[in-house]
């Protein structure tokens, strides 16, 4: 650890520094070109675009134009994305699916949309900075800086009022006041459970021991959810600042971010951020001259979903197998190394600074009474506009799926949306007008979970989906308790039988009974919630279960044992399917009807999706 000279030690210096930083930036930069450099942006090919932009900028010899690498803008459906901002007026234009060859035109056009490029409507507003004058469906509190600032440059964070909340807390508030403010805001844990954050902090605040810990849960285990990754990649300081505030509120000097090893870019940006915060004196000893010390370490996960559960996570930090323990005692009483510990989710922390800056009253005006604020969702699956969205609590599923997500791909029928990951459930078509918050989702037999939303269409088989989640739980069960280890195995076997058409009606009853007893008897949240996907799909889509059992049919045509592919007389002999077939099981002369060798067919469906003449039957 390098100990660098702290530059800012009191609030006056911070205010001045913020003002200076802002002036310096707006003086130099007239046009700011923001290039989305999150994991998915890079995977979609942002790097060559960035290079081309830099070259065009140099070639066109423009002054006052700056290129900034930013985190995820949430527009995953149109990566690589670029936003060009006029810093004086705030006017901007967002381009999607940008190619390196567009760079010259983008640089030359400024904020007037360049011709021939895909322009994207912003669709969100920033409650902290502006009124919702355009009636935007999205509100960005958590993602306020993500996609707007360079996450690797602390000065850009400072220019967005960064570290002012920490400064206010340390110099103007008592720990009890901080806890009261967070309690009053009604902020609930975004890691899934929705537990009131202020209440958790007050338990830890009341504990005697001097040694306490603040842990940020960045394990993000729900497959198909990526909001925590995006926050850490796009705005790491917001989380670090909030952890220091939490440390002050409960009387802890040590913070730990437990992050999954599968997120190398987020880890790198966190490391840079921690280093810069230390250099500036925002972490370390005597922060802002207040006498308060706080520092943050990183600990890495190693590929175990159950480590997202807080007691297992603590065991993992202690270097043990990540097996959960009984609660109580809760971590707030006896957590890491037996000391009082609060564990909060990344997104929970990402709300804290905005609440401190603007007050609990401001926060409560957004969202619903029982669940104030916003929620970030990762939209994925069969939806037109996949991406990361942040909406006020109380937004309807219809608005999310058809408004923001622009409906179902390829004109197919919506079937269900899955929320809550392996612990959650499915929501049907006739429930689309439900407004979402913690409590309404539970009423529908699902749960908020961490914010993954997988949209499914008519081609998805709900029995297979339930089986998929159980396979996940089986893989991830730590094996400590029998209901989870053995019970889920039996559930999985029964579901497999159904998908093979080998089950009878008794199987259905057994599924119900066993699901109920696993829910009641498993040790931790992983086991207790593992039957949820089964229960939920059985309740909502019983007809599909019955079709498999009674008719030996998979209505969606997914279960390989229950479908066959064949070619009908519509076939023109174009041979496209023959070329696409990965196992070469389609035969026929050019311009005559082809046939599928049913023995060799692996039922991948490639022929069906490639045929333009409706000549493939799936039965």
């Amino acid at each position: 650890m390098t100990v660098a000279k702290p530059i800012i030690t009191n609030s006056a210096q911070l205010t001045e520094f913020t003002a200076q930083t802002r002036t310096r930036m707006s003086d130099v930069t007239k046009i700011n070109i923001l290039v989305s450099m999150g994991t998915c942006g890079i995977a979609a090919g942002t790097t060559p675009v960035l290079k081309a932009l830099e070259e065009s900028l140099a070639a066109q010899n423009l002054t006052g134009v700056k290129i900034t690498r930013v985190g995820c803008m949430g527009l995953c459906h149109s990566e690589p994305t670029i936003e060009v901002v006029d810093t004086a007026s705030g006017k901007s234009v967002i381009y999607g699916n940008v190619k390196a060859s567009h760079a010259e035109a983008i640089v030359a056009a400024g904020v007037h949309p360049a011709e021939g490029l895909k322009v994207i409507e912003r669709g969100w507003y920033y409650p902290e900075d502006e009124e919702n004058t355009q009636d935007a469906p999205q509100a960005r509190i958590v993602l306020r800086n993500s996609g707007r600032i360079n996450p690797e440059d602390i000065q850009e964070y400072i220019a967005q009022s960064g570290y002012q909340a920490l400064c206010k807390v340390l110099l103007e508030m008592s720990p009890k006041q901080v806890v009261a403010e967070i309690t009053d805001s009604g902020l609930r844990g975004r890691g899934g459970g929705g537990f009131p954050t202020g209440r958790k902090w007050s338990f830890a605040n009341a504990q005697k021991p001097k040694e306490k810990y603040v842990i940020c849960n960045a394990d993000e285990g729900d497959p198909g959810a990526f909001m925590d990754r995006a926050i850490l990649e796009g705005d790491p300081h917001a989380v670090l600042e909030a952890m220091a505030i939490a440390g002050f509120a409960i009387g802890a000097k040590n913070g730990i971010v437990y992050i999954r090893a599968e997120y190398p870019l987020a880890i790198e940006r966190l490391q840079i951020a921690i280093h810069q915060a230390r250099e500036m004196g925002f972490l370390g000893k005597n922060i802002f001259g207040s006498g308060f010390d706080f520092d943050i370490d990183l600990k890495f996960g190693a590929g175990a979903f159950v480590c997202g559960e807080e007691t297992a996570l603590i065991a993992s930090i202690e270097g043990k197998r990540g097996e959960p323990t009984y609660k109580p005692p809760f971590p707030a009483i006896a957590g890491l190394w037996g000391k009082p510990t609060i564990v909060n989710n990344v997104e929970t922390f990402a709300n804290v600074c905005a609440i401190i800056r603007n007050g609990a009253g401001w926060f409560k005006r957004i969202g619903t009474t029982g669940s104030p604020g916003t929620k970030v969702f990762a939209l994925a699956g069969k939806i037109n506009q996949v991406g990361l969205i942040e909406v006020p609590m109380g937004t309807s599923l219809r608005e999310i799926i058809y408004g923001i997500g622009k409906g179902i791909r390829n004109g197919k029928q919506f079937k269900a949306v899955q929320t809550g990951g392996p612990s959650g459930g499915c929501i049907k078509r006739d429930q689309l007008d439900t407004t979402i918050d913690y409590d309404t989702l539970v009423l529908l037999g699902s749960m908020m979970g961490s914010g993954g939303m997988i949209i499914m269409d008519e081609d998805d088989c709900m029995v297979s989906v339930a089986r998929f989640f159980l396979e996940f739980t089986l893989d991830e069960s730590c094996g400590k308790c029998t209901p989870c280890r053995i019970g889920n195995k039996r559930l999985h076997e029964m579901l497999t039988k159904i998908t093979q058409g080998k089950a009878d009606m008794q199987t259905l009853q057994k599924l119900r009974d066993l699901s109920a007893s696993i829910k009641d008897t498993a040790l931790c949240g992983l086991g207790q919630s593992s039957p949820n996907p089964v229960r939920s799909t059985m309740n909502q889509f019983e007809d599909e279960y019955l079709a498999h059992i009674l008719e030996g049919k998979c209505p969606a045509g997914v279960c390989a044992d229950l479908v066959t592919y064949s070619i009908n007389e519509n076939c023109t002999g174009c041979a496209v399917c023959k070329k696409r077939c990965p196992v070469d099981c389609i035969r026929g002369e050019k311009k005559s009807v082809h046939v599928i060798d049913a023995e060799a067919c692996i039922k991948c469906g490639m022929c069906l999706s490639s045929c333009k003449f409706n000549a493939i039957d799936r039965k």
Binding site: T39, C40, I42, A43, A44, C76, H77, E79, G221, D222, P223, G224, A225, F226, R229, A230, A261, E262, Y263, K299, F300, G301, A302, G303, A304, F305, S316, I317, E318, G319, K320, R321, G322, W337, A378, A380, G381, K382, V386, G387, Q418, G421, G452, I454, M456, D460, V465, F468, F469, F472, C478, K579, R580, P582, V583, I602, C604, G605, M606
Partner: protein, 184 residues
Amino acid sequence: MASDTSTNVTTPTADAPNLLDAFPDKRQALEEYLDSLPLARAAGRKKGFLIQSLHRAQAIFGYLPEEVQVLVAKKLELHLSEVYGVISFYSFFTDKPVGKHKINVCTGTACFVRGADIILQEFARQLKISEGETSEDGMFSLGGLRCVGACSLAPVVMVNEDVEGNVEPPMVKKIIRRCMQEGE
């Protein structure tokens, strides 16, 4: 693995020479890392450094053979069984050598609903290995992993460190061929 064999495992044998001796610079890199840990200040809590040490060791050696486990156990003053218990619990760690090209098919929910299982089957068929295995020539390992956070590009395959998005079954052959060309 019984912990009382720990005294024997470092002894090189004719057919299995000690890995640490075979790669002195790797051994040195790991020892330097372990020595740099502030263990003295962590009385009673040395185990807290175990997982990060294993991450480092695996980054250096590619996997965690017994010799490496013994070295880590010794430095952190842990029982070999404790070290092995942790390795076997976490799916990120492996005590078997992995292939030169690591193919990991994302089997997260978003990729599942877009046909990841068919992609995985197709790799298994072409490489003639199952999930979790390495091909006999040591060229390929095939695995599944849960969500790399690029769900918008589903189905996603990690080919070594790179994310390959929107993969369709016919692309499998091409990906394998490309790896083989790189391997030459």
